[in-house]
């Protein structure tokens, strides 16, 4: 209960959490994620030390789930869904839904595949592996997404067709259009520069990762203190200094810890041999090298940053949330809610395009089933991350965490050998459970 300060007595004791002003809902999600990770760690640990008796410490240390290689994989596998989930937050916040994202991803991927393997090399005569192939392909894919997303948004906003129907149609249409675009074939291999977007084929190395992490940590800490200065400037109440210091430390530790985890993943020896062989060298004795941050993960972080800034710092974002809270009020306040709908759907489409680049580059070809059922994963990630289907509520970081939780669940279950049908059952249960817990939390805390 936070609304005690009504009468302004001000003597209410505040807990540490309240003083830090940490979002308890976010904390709950992080808790759930940690619980899932530990559960799989112990599960795999029990397997590894089979017959060793009751040895919890051994289970934890022998587990295979939290080893760097696996966390690295989970990070890479989460990117595609997470990028789209950030866009889905805006869609759901404005009281809409987009069922077409997986299908649209397939079409964007098909366009990108054709541009880099057919149009650029053959029709324009630039040849395969031309340096322009990858960037032009990516731009064409994103443009496809923006155009189709914007068109769907126009049907919803200006023509008044429910988004559920428009995008259900889109779900059926765009993946079939994709089928015709590629002539019903898997397209590959894709351009090698393009493949750098996929994960381990494009990483920036350990040193650059540390530099990026340190920069990020510095910016985060600077941001916390700049916000404090701003509040002091307007004479608002601020948190005690110890709370700001604690928050700064947590932020910096989280960022640098993440980099450390990423940098702990070594390039496998066989692959190292190939890399050196390509340069006409042999691997020196005892030489190891870390992948460092994958470009795809950096892309996700940039998308997350940009989308968060849009959500909380721009008029566009403010109008998205206002429209979700009360569409009539937003319209009466002079907000063009129809155009806003077009923009939100176009943004979602663009993110589908970006996500398509990551997804097809990770698989190193455009396959026909790419993006299948992605719409459900994306919506589930946004909803697990605290986005309310009634509109007006949702955060970007929540959606990304939601995507991470789902990926961790799936990856963990695959690792311990849960049958595929049962995996879906578990994910379904988790989805409903997450929303139920959220509803209970809101009832208890009085937050609407």
């Amino acid at each position: 209960m936070t609304d005690v300060s009504h009468s302004g007595t001000g003597k209410t004791r505040r807990s540490v959490m309240q003083t830090l002003e940490i979002d308890t809902r976010l904390l709950g999600m992080i808790g759930a994620f940690v619980a899932i990770a530990l559960a799989f760690q112990i599960w795999t640990g029990v397997r590894a030390s089979a017959g060793g008796g009751f040895d919890p410490i051994g289970w934890l240390t022998n587990g295979r789930f939290l080893i760097p290689q696996n966390t690295y994989n989970i990070a890479v596998q989460t990117v595609s869904i997470a990028i789209m989930a950030t866009g889905m937050v805006f869609i759901i916040v404005t009281r809409h839904i987009d069922l077409s994202v997986g299908s649209l991803l397939a079409l964007c991927s098909a366009v990108m595949a054709m541009v880099q393997t057919q149009i650029m090399p053959h029709y324009l005569g630039l040849g395969l592996e031309h340096p322009l192939n990858a960037p032009v392909a990516v731009l064409a894919g994103i443009a496809t997404g923006v155009l189709i997303g914007g068109f769907q948004g126009w049907l919803v906003g200006y023509q008044g067709i429910p988004s559920f129907i428009v995008t259900l149609g889109g779900l059926l249409i765009w993946s079939r259009v994709a089928y015709f675009v590629v002539g019903g074939q898997t397209i590959g291999p894709l351009d090698s520069t393009f493949l750098m977007l996929g994960g381990t084929n494009g990483t920036i190395g350990a040193l650059a990762s540390w530099v990026l992490g340190a920069t990020g940590a510095a910016i985060a800490v600077w941001g916390i203190w700049a916000a404090r200065r701003g509040k002091v400037g307007h004479g608002f109440a601020v948190k005690p200094v110890w709370a700001e210091v604690t928050l700064s430390a947590i932020a910096a530790a989280a960022i640098l810890g993440f980099i450390a985890l990423i940098n702990a993943t070594q390039i496998p020896p066989g692959r190292l041999t190939r890399i050196f062989a390509a340069r006409g060298e042999t691997v020196p004795e005892g030489y190891t090298e870390a992948f460092g941050l994958p470009i795809s993960v950096i892309l996700l972080l940039l998308v997350a940053l940009a989308m968060t800034v849009i959500a909380v710092r721009t008029r566009f974002g403010r109008y998205i949330f206002a429209t979700g809270g009360n569409p009539d009020a937003a319209a009466l306040s002079g907000i063009n809610t129809k155009l806003l709908t077009v923009k939100v759907f176009a943004l979602m489409g663009g993110l589908c395009g970006l996500s398509a680049a990551v997804a097809s580059a990770r698989l190193s070809n455009h396959s026909l089933d790419l993006g299948q059922l992605d719409e459900l994963r994306v919506i589930a990630a946004a909803v697990i991350g605290g986005t309310a289907l009634a509109g007006g509520l949702g955060t970007i970081h929540g959606a990304i965490l939601g995507a991470l939780i789902m990926q961790a669940l799936q990856s963990g279950m695959a690792m311990v050998g849960v049958d595929a049908p049962f995996q879906n059952i578990v994910v379904g249960v988790v989805l409903v459970l997450a929303v139920w817990i959220d509803i209970q939390y809101r009832k208890r805390s009085g937050v609407k």
Binding site: D3, S5, H6, G8, G230, K231, G233, H234, G235, F236, V309, R313, T314, R315, R318, Y319, F321, A322, T323, G324, G325, N326, D328, A329, A330, A331, L332, S333, G334, I335, N336, G392, L393, G446, K448
Partner: protein, 254 residues
């Protein structure tokens, strides 16, 4: 009436609005002078809200003209209306429940930083200032307005009108959701704004309140204007008769 010299602040001339063949507003002309409160009365569906929404930009009139300060005005949407310093307080309290008071007060007109980002700190500071004037008890600045009482929500809506220097204020049943004390607060505020020279259209069902607060009362029925009377010259029963019978009482008809 004191201020009735010179051009009217608002002059609605022969406004027609129909929805699918139903004439919601049928040839209504009405004016409003500075420092005047004009009450709009009528049954539900009489066309009061529809008429007023073409002034606030929510609807466009099919035909007819709007003059503001004697100049022909072109109001296509709520943004245009705001440019003419027309502010509206809606019956449904047009607030976004999930946003805080400052975000609602500045909705559609956010203060921004040099880089074009919304300046929440400055908006909050401005909100504190205006709230200290309008409703000193208002403390919940950081919470979504869904956590506020009806009166507090209404003061956010009124603060919006006052902050942006409205000259023409439209109030659509501003006290419908309020308790007696809060209703009194709104009544006092209307008197205060009137003294400052605003012109106010007040839509209300309560004949008694209209008689107290308004200078003139306009009665509508079935989309048509039955008549405009000075409230000092009629009784509450006269006004009621106009609403129910749809014609001016005999002794006023001349």
């Amino acid at each position: 009436m004191a201020g009735n010299t010179g051009a009217p602040l608002v002059d609605l001339r022969d406004i027609h609005i129909s929805f699918g063949g139903i004439k919601a507003v049928d040839g209504v002309s009405l004016d409003l002078y500075p420092g005047e409160v004009v009450g709009l009365l009528g049954h539900n569906g009489a066309g009061k809200s529809t008429l007023i929404k073409c002034l606030s930009g929510a609807y466009q009139a099919d035909s007819g003209e709007i003059y503001i300060d004697g100049q022909k005005a072109d109001i296509q949407n709520p943004r245009d209306a705001r440019a003419y310093n027309i502010e509206t307080i809606y019956q449904t309290l047009a607030l976004a429940d999930n946003l805080d008071a400052a975000a609602n007060l500045f909705l559609g007109r956010e203060l921004t930083t040099a880089l074009g980002f919304v300046d929440d700190a400055r908006m909050e500071a401005e909100t504190r200032k205006i709230m200290a004037r309008l409703n000193p008890n208002f403390k919940k600045l950081k919470e979504p307005v869904s956590a506020l009482s009806g009166g507090q929500r209404q003061s956010v809506a009124i603060a919006r009108a006052v902050y942006f220097n409205a000259r023409i204020l439209i109030m659509d049943e501003p006290t419908a959701a309020l308790g007696p004390q809060e209703t009194q607060m709104v009544a006092e505020l209307i008197q205060e704004l009137k003294r400052q020279g605003l012109g106010i259209f007040l839509i209300d069902h309560d004949v008694h309140a209209v008689k107290q607060l308004c200078d003139r009362a306009a009665v509508m029925k079935n989309g048509q204007l039955i008549g405009v009377v000075k409230v000092d010259e009629v009784t509450e029963d006269d006004i009621l008769a106009m609403i129910i019978l749809g014609k001016k009482p005999e002794h006023l008809a001349a």
